[in-house]
C-alpha cells in the first residue's frame, strides 16, 4: 500500500562495479503494483504480506470455530456430522496455530526487528521472501484439502495410531503432513535469517543489552523455531512414510510404540506454544512503557526471563502426556519443571505491572489490548499451573478446561497482544493511524466476547465435558454454558472483524482529510524505529543510527536538566531522519523466491496423489535454484545503481549472492 516509494537509488556520481554478474538472468524492475509485491525482498513488505496472509487464514480458522460453536450450541445438534466435526476442530486448531498465530509473530518480527536494530534489511532478503512464499503456499495446500477429500481429522496434535491409514483413510492427514512440512521449511529458513540479522546486523553501539525487548523476544522465538521445527519435520516425515510408503513407525501390530509420536510432537509442541506467546510479550513490552510514560521496569529481568522461558520450554513437554502412563518419576520431574516455568512468566507479568504502577497512563487502544493480554494471560497461566499438578491434570485432561486454558493464553494472550501491536505500529507501516474510538469499541467487544466464549469452558471442563466431542445429551447439564459460549463466540467474531472495518474506516477518513502524515513519532515513543518517517521508507534509515543507550530515541528526546528533572529537549520530528534515500543501495527484487516456493507444493501433491507429479515439481525447484544462483548480483543496468552508503542489507543478495546458493 503506502509503503511503495519513489525510486530509491539516486545517483551519487559513482562508477559501476567492474565485476561481471555470474549469470545471464535479469532482476525484476517493477516498483509498484502486484508484480512488485510478488518479487519484493523488502522485509517490511514481506512482514505486511505475512500479516495479510495470516488474516486470510484467520477467516478460514474463524469460520471453522464458529461452525464448532453452532454445533455445540444446543444438545443433540445435527448441524455437523461426526466426521465433519472432526475435520472442523482439527483444521481450526491447525490453521490457527500454524497459519495464523505463528505467521503474525513472523509478520511483526519481519517488519519491526530490522527497524529496531537499525538494519537496512534482513541478512538474506531473497531467502526472507522465499520463507514467506513457502509458508503461504504450504498453508494454501493444506487448505485445498477441503476440496480434495476433506480436511485432516486427527486433532491438531494428530496422535498415533489414530493418524494411520487404518483409522483415517482419507487424504486429510496427508495434506496435514505435506502442508505443514512445506510451511515448516519457511519457518526454518526464516528463523536462520532473523537470528543472523539480530546477532550480526545491529546498529553501531547497539549491544545485546541495548536491544528493545521485542527484538530480544524475536531472537528467543527464532531460536525456539530453529530447534523445534526439525523435530516436527521428522515426526511428519515418519508419518508420511507410514501412510504413503508402508513404513511401520507407528504400526502397533509390528510392535511400534505410538507414544513415539506424542514425544516427537510435544518436544516440538511445547517450545511451539512459547514461540507463539513470546512475540506478543515483546509487543506489549514495547507498548506499555510508551503509554505509561516510563521505562520498562527491570529490563534485564525482562530479557533473562524470556531467555529462561526459551530454555525451560524444552524440559516440560511431557506435561501434555501425564495420562499416557509415563511412570511416577517422569511425571514428577515434568510436573516440577512445569511449575518452575511459571516463575519467569510471573516475573514478566510483575514487571509489566510495575511499569504501569505510577505511570501517567494513556489508555488508548494499544494500551488496552496490552492490559487485556496481561489480565487474560494471567488467568490462562493460573489454569496452566493447575495442569502442572499431575493429579489435578489427570482430572482435567481432554476436557474443556484444557480448551479454556489454551485459548486464554493463545487468544486472550497472544492474539490480544498482536491486535494491540497492529494498532501501535500501523502508522509506521501504512502512514495513517487507526481510529482510537473504533479501536476501543473493538477491544471491549473482544473482551466481552472472548470471556463469554472461553470463561464458561472452565466450568464445562470441570463438570466433565470432554473436548472433541461432537455433541452432548440434554440431561448432561452442559446446555446453558454451551449456549453462552456460542453467543460469546459470535460477539468475538464480530469484534475481530472490526479490525478490518477500522482499517477501511480510518483509511477513508484519512483520505478525505487529504492524507495527513502522522509524523515519524506519533506516540512519543522510545525505540529507534520511530526515528524514521511514517510510513517507513524502503531504505529504512538514511544513515546508520548510532545507539548509545537502551530506548535510544527517547534519550535523545528527553534529558535531565540541572535540577535532575527530566525535560523534553527535542521533539521526535526535530531529530527524526528526513527519509532521504539518496545514494542508498538496496537489494534488488527477485523472481526466484516465489518460483522456488511454488515448486515445492507440487512435489507435495505428487506424494499424496501420484509420484509422477513429483517430477515437474522437482524440475521447477531445480530450475528455480539455478535461477536463484545465477541471478546477477544486482541489476547493474538500473539507472543510478551505485554503492553509496552500503547497508547491511547489501550482504544477503548483493555481491555475495553465490554463497546463498548453499544456504537454501
Amino acid at each position: 500500500m503506502a509503503i511503495i516509494d519513489k525510486p530509491l537509488a539516486l545517483p551519487a556520481g559513482e562508477p559501476r562495479r567492474a565485476a561481471r554478474p555470474l549469470g545471464v538472468f535479469t532482476r525484476p524492475k517493477e516498483q509498484s503494483g502486484i508484480s512488485a509485491w510478488l518479487t519484493t525482498v523488502d522485509h517490511k513488505k514481506i512482514g505486511i504480506m505475512y500479516g495479510s496472509a495470516a488474516l486470510f487464514f484467520l477467516l478460514i480458522g474463524g469460520v471453522a470455530a464458529l461452525a464448532i460453536r453452532v454445533q455445540l450450541a444446543t444438545p443433540n445438534n445435527t448441524f455437523l456430522s461426526g466426521d465433519a466435526y472432526n475435520r472442523m476442530y482439527t483444521m481450526h486448531g491447525t490453521v490457527m496455530v500454524f497459519l495464523v498465530v505463528m505467521p503474525i509473530g513472523a509478520a511483526f518480527a519481519n517488519f519491526l526487528m530490522p527497524l529496531q536494530v537499525g538494519a537496512r534489511d534482513v541478512a538474506f532478503p531473497r531467502i526472507n521472501a522465499f520463507s514467506f512464499w513457502v509458508f503461504f503456499f504450504g498453508g494454501l495446500m493444506l487448505n485445498t484439502s477441503w476440496f480434495l477429500g476433506g480436511g485432516a481429522d486427527g486433532g491438531w496434535f494428530n496422535y498415533a495410531p489414530n493418524n494411520g491409514v487404518a483409522f483415517s483413510p482419507s487424504h486429510g492427514i496427508d495434506f496435514w503432513n505435506a502442508g505443514l512440512l512445506i510451511a515448516g521449511i519457511g519457518s526454518l529458513t526464516g528463523s536462520i535469517n532473523l537470528i543472523t540479522t539480530v546477532l550480526n546486523m545491529r546498529a553501531p553501539g547497539m549491544t545485546l543489552m541495548k536491544m528493545p525487548v521485542f527484538t530480544w523476544m524475536t531472537l528467543v522465538t527464532q531460536f525456539l523455531l530453529l530447534f523445534a521445527i526439525p523435530v516436527i519435520t521428522v515426526a511428519q516425515l515418519l508419518l508420511t512414510f507410514d501412510r504413503r510408503f508402508g513404513a511401520n513407525f507407528f504400526n502397533v501390530q509390528q510392535g511400534a510404540d505410538p507414544l513415539l509420536w506424542q514425544h516427537l510432537f510435544w518436544v516440538f509442541g511445547h517450545p511451539e506454544v512459547y514461540l507463539m506467546i513470546l512475540p506478543a510479550f515483546g509487543i506489549v513490552s514495547e507498548i506499555i512503557p510508551t503509554f505509561a510514560r516510563k521505562p520498562i521496569f527491570g529490563y534485564p529481568f525482562m530479557v533473562f526471563s524470556g531467555i529462561a522461558i526459551g530454555f525451560m520450554g524444552w524440559g516440560v513437554w511431557a506435561h501434555h502426556m501425564f495420562v499416557s502412563g509415563l511412570g511416577p518419576l517422569s511425571v514428577t520431574a515434568f510436573s516440577v519443571a512445569t511449575m518452575f516455568i511459571a516463575v519467569p512468566t510471573g516475573v514478566k507479568i510483575l514487571n509489566w505491572m510495575a511499569t504501569l504502577w505510577g505511570g501517567k497512563l494513556i489508555l488508548n487502544t494499544p494500551m488496552l489490548f496490552s492490559i487485556g493480554l496481561i489480565t487474560q494471560f494471567t488467568v490462562g497461566g493460573l489454569s496452566g499451573v493447575s495442569h502442572a499438578i499431575a493429579p489435578s491434570d489427570t482430572q482435567q485432561t481432554d476436557t474443556y478446561y484444557i480448551v479454556a486454558h489454551f485459548h486464554y493464553v493463545l487468544f486472550g494472550g497472544a492474539f490480544f497482544g498482536f491486535v494491540g501491536g497492529v494498532y501501535h505500529w500501523f502508522p509506521k507501516a501504512f502512514g495513517y493511524k487507526l481510529n482510537d474510538t473504533f479501536g476501543k469499541v473493538q477491544f471491549w467487544m473482544m473482551v466481552v466476547g472472548f470471556n463469554l466464549t472461553f470463561g464458561p469452558m472452565h466450568i464445562l471442563g470441570l463438570q466433565g465435558m470432554p473436548r472433541r466431542m461432537q455433541t452432548y445429551d440434554d440431561a448432561m447439564g452442559f446446555n446453558f454454558w454451551n449456549l453462552v459460549a456460542t453467543i460469546g463466540a459470535f460477539i468475538l467474531g464480530v469484534g475481530v472483524m472490526l479490525l478490518l472495518a477500522n482499517v477501511a474506516y480510518s483509511y477513508s477518513k484519512w483520505k478525505s482529510a487529504g492524507r495527513p502524515n502522522p509524523g515519524p513519532d506519533p506516540w512519543d515513543a522510545r525505540t529507534i524505529e520511530w526515528s524514521i518517517p511514517s510510513p517507513a521508507p524502503s531504505h529504512n534509515f538514511d544513515t546508520d543510527p548510532v545507539v548509545t543507550s537502551l530506548d535510544d530515541f527517547w534519550h535523545r528526546k528527553y534529558q535531565e536538566d540541572e535540577n535532575g528533572v527530566v525535560r523534553r529537549v527535542h521533539t521526535g520530528e526535530e531529530i527524526a531522519q528526513p527519509g532521504n534515500g539518496e545514494g542508498v543501495h538496496l537489494p534488488a527484487p527477485s523472481y526466484w523466491p516465489i518460483v522456488l516456493a511454488f515448486g515445492i507444493p507440487i512435489i507435495g501433491y505428487g506424494i499424496i496423489f501420484n509420484l509422477w507429479l513429483c517430477i515437474p515439481g522437482a524440475l521447477v525447484v531445480i530450475g528455480a535454484l539455478f535461477g536463484w544462483a545465477l541471478e546477477p548480483a544486482d541489476d547493474l543496468d538500473a539507472p543510478g545503481h551505485d554503492h553509496g552508503h552500503d547497508g547491511p542489507g547489501h550482504d544477503g543478495s548483493g555481491d555475495h549472492a553465490e554463497p546463498e546458493l548453499e544456504t537454501v
Partner: protein, 229 residues
C-alpha cells in the same frame, strides 16, 4: 563495465566499517550456516532416537515370538536375532567400516581443498575437490550396494520396524551426502571455469562445514546402528 577507480570516500574498507555488516565479526552466511547445522543436529537426533526405539521394539517382538511380526526375512536370521537379542549380526561390519573410513578420509581432502583455494592454488584445489567428491561418491555407492544386499536378504522398507527405521536413518544420511556431492560438483565446475578464486574461499569453507558435519553424523550413526549391540 570499465574499471574506474573507486572514490576514496567510498572505498570498500571504509563502508564495510560504517556498514557494521557484522556485529559478531563472523560473516552472515557463515553464521547462518552454523545455525542451520544446529537445526540439523535436532533432525538427526530425532531420527536416531526413532531408530533406537524402533529397533529395540522390533527385537523385543522377535524375542517374544510375536506371531504378528510377520517377517519377510529368512528364518535363520530371525532366529539369530531372537537368540542374541540384537540385529547387529545382520550387518557386514568390515564392509561398512571400510566405507566409513573412506567417508572420514574425504573430510581430510575437504580441508586440503579449502587450503588450496585459500592459497589460490588452482591445480591443487581441483584435485582435492575432485578427490572429496569421489570419496563421497564411493561411500554412496557402498550404501547402494549395502541396501541392495539387505533388500535381497529380505529386509524391506515396508516389511518390519527394523527395515523402516534402518532405511530411513541411513537414507537420510545418504541424501545429505548426496547433496554435499552436488555442492562439491558445483564448486568443481566453478573451479574449471576459473571462478573459484581466493575471494570465494569462504564458500568452500562453508561447504566444508556441511561436509564435516555429515561425516560426524555418520560416526554417530555407524556407532549407534552398527557397533553397539
Amino acid at each position: 563495465m570499465t574499471d574506474v577507480a573507486i572514490p576514496v570516500e567510498h572505498a570498500p574498507a571504509e563502508h564495510h566499517e560504517a556498514g557494521h555488516a557484522s556485529s559478531l565479526g563472523l560473516s552472515n552466511t557463515k553464521l547462518a550456516f552454523w545455525l542451520f547445522l544446529g537445526s540439523e543436529c535436532l533432525l538427526f537426533g530425532a531420527l536416531i532416537s526413532t531408530y533406537l526405539l524402533s529397533v529395540g521394539n522390533f527385537v523385543g517382538q522377535v524375542v517374544a515370538g510375536n506371531p504378528r511380526v510377520v517377517s519377510t526375512m529368512p528364518a535363520e536370521i530371525m532366529n539369530e536375532i531372537a537368540e542374541k537379542g540384537t540385529v547387529n549380526g545382520f550387518f557386514d561390519i568390515p564392509f561398512t567400516s571400510a566405507s566409513s573410513f573412506i567417508l572420514l578420509m574425504s573430510s581430510l581432502t575437504m580441508v586440503l581443498a579449502h587450503k588450496a583455494v585459500t592459497e589460490s592454488n588452482y591445480r591443487a584445489s581441483k584435485i582435492w575437490l575432485s578427490a572429496t567428491a569421489l570419496l563421497g561418491a564411493t561411500f554412496i555407492s557402498g550404501q547402494v550396494y549395502e541396501f541392495t544386499v539387505f533388500y535381497r536378504e529380505g529386509l524391506y522398507y515396508d516389511g518390519n520396524l527394523f527395515g523402516s527405521a534402518f532405511y530411513t536413518l541411513t537414507g537420510f544420511h545418504g541424501a545429505h551426502v548426496t547433496i554435499g556431492i552436488l555442492m562439491l560438483v558445483a564448486l568443481l565446475i566453478m573451479a574449471f571455469k576459473g571462478k573459484l578464486q581466493a575471494d570465494r574461499a569462504e564458500t568452500v569453507e562453508i561447504i566444508g562445514l556441511y561436509w564435516h558435519f555429515v561425516d560426524v553424523v555418520w560416526v554417530l550413526i555407524f556407532t549407534v546402528v552398527y557397533l553397539i549391540p
